[in-house]
C-alpha cells in the first residue's frame, strides 16, 4: 500500500481530476474575466482591447458603489441581526431537549429547504400592497393605510428582511452543531459554581464557540457580497436600482446591457474585494485568537 502511494503515477492520477476542475472551472474563467475586463466585448462578435477604460468608468459608476453599499448593509445585517439571533435560538434549542428540539430545529431550517424562486415569489405576495399578507394583517389590526413595502425609500429594508430570514436556518444549524460539541462537563462545572443561564452562555458557550463564529461570520460576509438570486427574483434591483446588489448589477450589465467587458471588469473588482475581505477577516480573527 505504501509502495502504491509513493508511485508518482498514482499520485498524479489522484490529484489530476482536482487540478483539472480547478484549472477549467476556476482559474481559466478568472483569467478570461481579467482579459474581457480590458475589452469592449458585447458578448457577441469580436472584442477590442480598450485598456483600463472599463475600470475608470467603474470608479465613477454611482450604481456600482450603491450596490456595494447594499452588500455591505446586508453583511452588517447578517452579523448584527441574523447571527446573534441564530446563536440565541441555537442555545435555546439545545436546552429544549426531546421532541420539541427536533421540531423547532426543522421549523427554523425550512426556509433553507425551499427553492429560492419560491421564496422570492412568496415574499412578493406577502409584500403586495393590494392583496399581500402583511398589509392584510395590519388591516386586521386596525391600520387603515396601505404600505408599499417596495417603495424606493424602504425597499432595501424589505429585501434585507427576506435575505436575513432566508439565511437564518444555516447560521442557526451551524451554531447549534457547535453548541452540541461543547463538553457537558463545562456546563456542570458552571452549574456547581452557581452560574445562571446568562452567565453560562457568556462565560462557557460563547468562548467555546469562537471558531464556529469565525467560520459563520466569514461565510455570512462572503454570501452577502455575492447575493444575487433572491434579489434578482424579488426586485431585480428595482425600483430604479434602490435594491441593487453588486452581483445582480454585474449580471445586468453583462447580459442585459450587452456590456460583457464592463460586466467582467465589475467581476474582477468584485473578486478583489472578496479576497481583501477574507484576508482582513483572517487577520482580525487570528489577532483576536492570539490575544485570547
Amino acid at each position: 500500500m505504501k509502495k502504491l502511494y509513493s508511485n508518482k503515477l498514482v499520485i498524479a492520477s489522484l490529484i489530476l481530476p482536482g487540478i483539472l476542475v480547478f484549472v477549467f472551472a476556476i482559474l481559466a474563467p478568472i483569467c478570461l474575466s481579467i482579459y474581457y475586463g480590458f475589452t469592449d466585448y458585447s458578448g457577441m462578435g469580436t472584442a477590442t482591447v480598450i485598456g483600463f477604460e472599463n475600470y475608470s468608468k467603474l470608479m465613477q459608476d454611482k450604481i456600482f458603489w450603491k450596490s456595494l453599499w447594499h452588500s455591505a448593509l446586508l453583511a452588517i445585517g447578517f452579523i448584527c441581526i441574523q447571527h446573534p439571533l441564530a446563536m440565541i435560538v441555537a442555545a435555546v434549542l439545545d436546552k429544549l431537549q426531546g421532541k420539541a428540539e427536533g421540531f423547532f430545529r426543522c421549523v427554523y431550517f425550512i426556509p433553507n429547504v425551499i427553492s429560492v424562486a419560491v421564496i422570492a415569489y412568496l415574499w412578493k405576495f406577502i409584500y403586495n400592497p393590494d392583496f399581500g399578507l402583511l398589509n392584510n394583517v395590519l388591516k386586521a389590526l386596525g391600520y387603515t393605510g396601505k404600505i408599499n413595502w417596495f417603495d424606493s425609500k424602504i425597499a432595501i429594508w424589505s429585501v434585507l428582511v427576506v435575505l436575513i430570514w432566508h439565511g437564518f436556518g444555516w447560521g442557526m444549524l451551524i451554531y447549534y452543531t457547535g453548541i452540541k460539541n461543547i463538553d457537558p462537563v463545562l456546563y456542570e462545572a458552571a452549574a456547581i459554581d452557581g452560574a445562571n443561564n446568562r452567565q453560562t452562555f457568556i462565560s462557557v458557550t460563547l468562548p467555546q464557540m469562537k471558531s464556529v463564529i469565525q467560520v459563520n461570520v466569514t461565510m455570512a460576509i462572503i454570501s452577502a457580497l455575492k447575493q444575487m438570486e433572491t434579489v434578482y427574483l424579488l426586485t431585480n434591483g428595482g425600483p430604479g436600482n434602490s435594491t441593487q446588489f453588486t452581483a445582480n448589477y454585474l449580471y445586468q450589465q453583462a447580459f442585459k446591457a450587452f456590456k460583457y467587458g464592463y460586466g467582467n471588469a465589475i467581476s474582477v473588482v468584485f473578486i478583489l474585494i472578496c479576497i481583501a475581505v477574507t484576508i482582513l477577516l483572517n487577520i482580525i480573527f487570528s489577532e483576536k485568537g492570539k490575544a485570547v
Binding site: 458578448g43 396601505k146 424606493s152 428595482g238 425600483p239 430604479g240 436600482n241 442585459k256 446591457a257 450587452f258
Partner: protein, 459 residues
C-alpha cells in the same frame, strides 16, 4: 501475485473490449443495413433509375431534428399555442422532421440567446426587429440571410420587414403588428358611469373617481420597465404627432432634452402621483399587473394588443373576460398628435441561425410558419392580436368584439409611432431607461436628471 496480475489482465481486456464495442456498435450497424438493402434492391431491379429513386427515398427519410428557441413559454394560450400548433402540423406533414422547443420568458430568453450566440445558436429563434436587440445580433453575424424574393406572396404589411434588415439584406420576419392599448372593463365603466376619456386630463380625473370607488384605475407592469417606456412613447407621439425621427435624433445625439420628452416624462410622473397606477406598480411584474385587471381589481390595464387573447382565455372569470374592451391613449391637451395617431410597431418575429447544420430545413420550416394561412390565420382565430401580414381574408365573423376593436383602431390610424423609445437605442440605453423610468415616475429622481442619464446611456 500471479492471481492479482491475472485478474488485472482480465479486467483490462474486458474494459478495452467494452470500449471498442461501444465505439463500433453505433457507427457500423446502421450504415451496414441500408447499404446491403440498397445493393440487393439494385441487383434485383437492375435499372439505374430504380437505384436513384431508392437513394432519393433514403435521403427523403433522413431524420432531421430542428431546435426552436422561443420566447413564448405558455404553450396552451395565445401566441405560444399558435406557434405549437404550427410546429405539430409541420411534424405531422414531415414525419422525418422532429422539432424540439425550448421556451423561456422574455428576459431569461434574451440572456440565454446571448449565451447561445457565443456557443452555437438553435436552428430557429425568436427575435425582435428593433435596434436595441437586433443591432448587436446582426453585427455578430449569428443570423442567416433570408431571400426577400421568397416572401413576395406572403402579404407582409408594407414596411413591416424593414426592422429586420441590415444593409438591404433580410435576416428575420415579423410576427405581429403590436399596438399599445388601454384595456378596460366595460361593465365596470357602465355600472359606474365612467366614460372613455377623450383627453389625458380626463383620464387623470377619471382615475380619481375610480380610486374613490375603491378600485385601482390602471394596472401597470412597472417592474419590468418596458411597458412604462411604451407609455412614454405613446405620450411623446400624442405631444409631437410623431416619434420616429425625434427619437432617432435623440438616440443618435444622446440628447433627450427636447421639450416633447420632458413633457411626456412630466405627464407620466403626474399620472403616477395622481394614483393612476396601482400602489407599488414600479416593483410589480407582468403577471401581477395583469391579474389585478383580470380579477376585477383594476378598471384598466396598459399593455400591447398581443393580450387581446384575454377575451378567449377561459382562466379569466367570464364576467371580466366578456367585458374587456380597448381604447388608445387619449390626446394630450395642446399636443400635435390626434386621436388616431397611435403607438404601433412590428416587434417580435423569427430568424434562422447562420450556423445551423440544418439551415435549409430550418428556412423551409420558417417559410412554412409564415405561409399566410398559418401564423396569420391561426393567430387571428385564436385572438392573438394582429399579425404583420394581411389578415383580412381570415375574418370568420366569430371574432370577439375586442379583436374587432383592435382592427378598427389600426384601420382608422392616421399614423403609427414605430418602435417604442426603449428599443430604439443600444442595449445599454434600453437597460438604463427601463430602470431609470421607475425612479423618475416614483419621484426618486428628477425629470431633467432622468433625461440626462438616458441620453448619456446612448453614447
Amino acid at each position: 501475485m500471479m492471481k492479482k496480475r491475472f485478474l488485472t489482465t482480465i479486467l483490462a481486456i474486458t474494459a478495452a473490449g467494452t470500449l471498442l464495442a461501444g465505439c463500433g456498435s453505433k457507427t457500423a450497424a446502421p450504415t451496414a443495413a441500408p447499404t446491403e438493402k440498397a445493393t440487393e434492391k439494385a441487383a434485383d431491379q437492375t435499372t439505374e433509375k430504380a437505384a436513384e429513386e431508392t437513394t432519393k427515398q433514403a435521403e427523403a427519410a433522413e431524420d432531421v431534428t430542428l431546435k426552436v428557441f422561443s420566447n413564448l413559454p405558455d404553450r396552451k394560450n395565445g401566441q405560444g399555442l399558435v406557434e405549437q400548433m404550427i410546429i405539430d402540423e409541420y411534424m405531422a406533414q414531415n414525419p422525418n422532421v422532429k422539432i424540439t422547443v425550448e421556451a423561456l420568458d422574455e428576459e431569461a430568453y434574451k440572456t440565454k440567446f446571448k449565451a447561445y450566440a457565443m456557443d452555437g445558436m438553435p436552428d430557429v429563434v425568436s427575435i425582435w426587429g428593433q435596434p436595441a436587440f437586433l443591432d448587436e445580433v446582426l453585427n455578430a453575424g449569428v443570423l442567416a440571410e433570408l431571400n426577400t424574393g421568397d416572401y413576395a406572396d406572403y402579404k407582409f404589411v408594407e414596411g413591416s420587414l424593414e426592422g429586420f434588415k441590415k444593409d438591404g439584406k433580410l435576416y428575420g420576419l415579423p410576427r405581429n403588428t403590436d399596438v399599445a392599448v388601454i384595456y378596460y372593463n366595460q361593465k365596470m365603466f357602465d355600472d359606474n358611469g365612467w366614460k372613455i376619456p377623450e383627453t389625458y386630463n380626463e383620464l387623470l380625473t377619471m382615475a380619481s373617481d375610480i380610486k374613490a370607488a375603491g378600485l385601482i384605475p390602471m394596472a401597470m407592469d412597472g417592474g419590468d420597465g418596458w411597458p412604462m417606456a411604451i407609455f412614454m412613447s405613446d405620450l411623446v407621439n400624442k405631444i409631437n404627432g410623431s416619434t420616429i425621427e425625434t427619437v432617432a435624433n435623440a438616440v443618435q445625439n444622446g440628447d433627450f432634452t427636447a421639450p416633447e420628452f420632458k413633457e411626456a416624462t412630466e405627464l407620466m410622473r403626474t399620472a403616477a402621483e395622481a394614483g393612476l397606477f396601482q400602489d407599488g406598480y414600479d416593483s410589480q411584474d407582468y403577471g401581477t399587473a395583469m391579474n389585478l385587471f383580470t380579477n376585477g381589481q383594476a378598471a384598466m390595464f396598459y399593455m400591447g394588443s398581443w393580450e387581446s387573447s384575454m377575451a378567449l382565455n377561459e382562466d379569466i372569470p367570464e364576467e371580466v373576460r366578456t367585458n374587456i374592451r380597448v381604447f388608445t391613449m387619449p390626446v394630450v391637451e395642446g399636443g400635435k398628435g390626434q386621436k388616431h395617431d397611435i403607438a404601433a410597431w412590428n416587434g417580435g418575429g423569427y430568424a434562422v441561425s447562420a450556423d445551423s447544420k440544418v439551415k435549409e430545413e430550418a428556412i423551409k420550416f420558417l417559410n412554412y410558419m409564415y405561409q399566410p394561412d398559418k401564423l396569420s390565420k391561426y393567430g387571428w382565430e385564436n385572438g392573438v392580436g394582429m399579425s404583420a401580414q394581411d389578415q383580412s381574408q381570415y375574418m370568420t365573423g366569430n371574432e370577439t368584439e375586442l379583436q374587432m376593436q383592435i382592427v378598427e383602431i389600426v384601420n382608422a390610424a392616421t399614423s403609427l409611432s414605430g418602435t417604442p423609445i426603449n428599443d430604439c437605442g443600444p442595449s445599454a440605453f434600453k437597460a438604463c431607461i427601463e430602470s431609470e423610468i421607475q425612479s423618475v415616475t416614483n419621484g426618486t429622481s428628477t425629470v431633467d436628471g432622468f433625461l440626462d442619464v438616458i441620453g448619456k446611456a446612448c453614447k
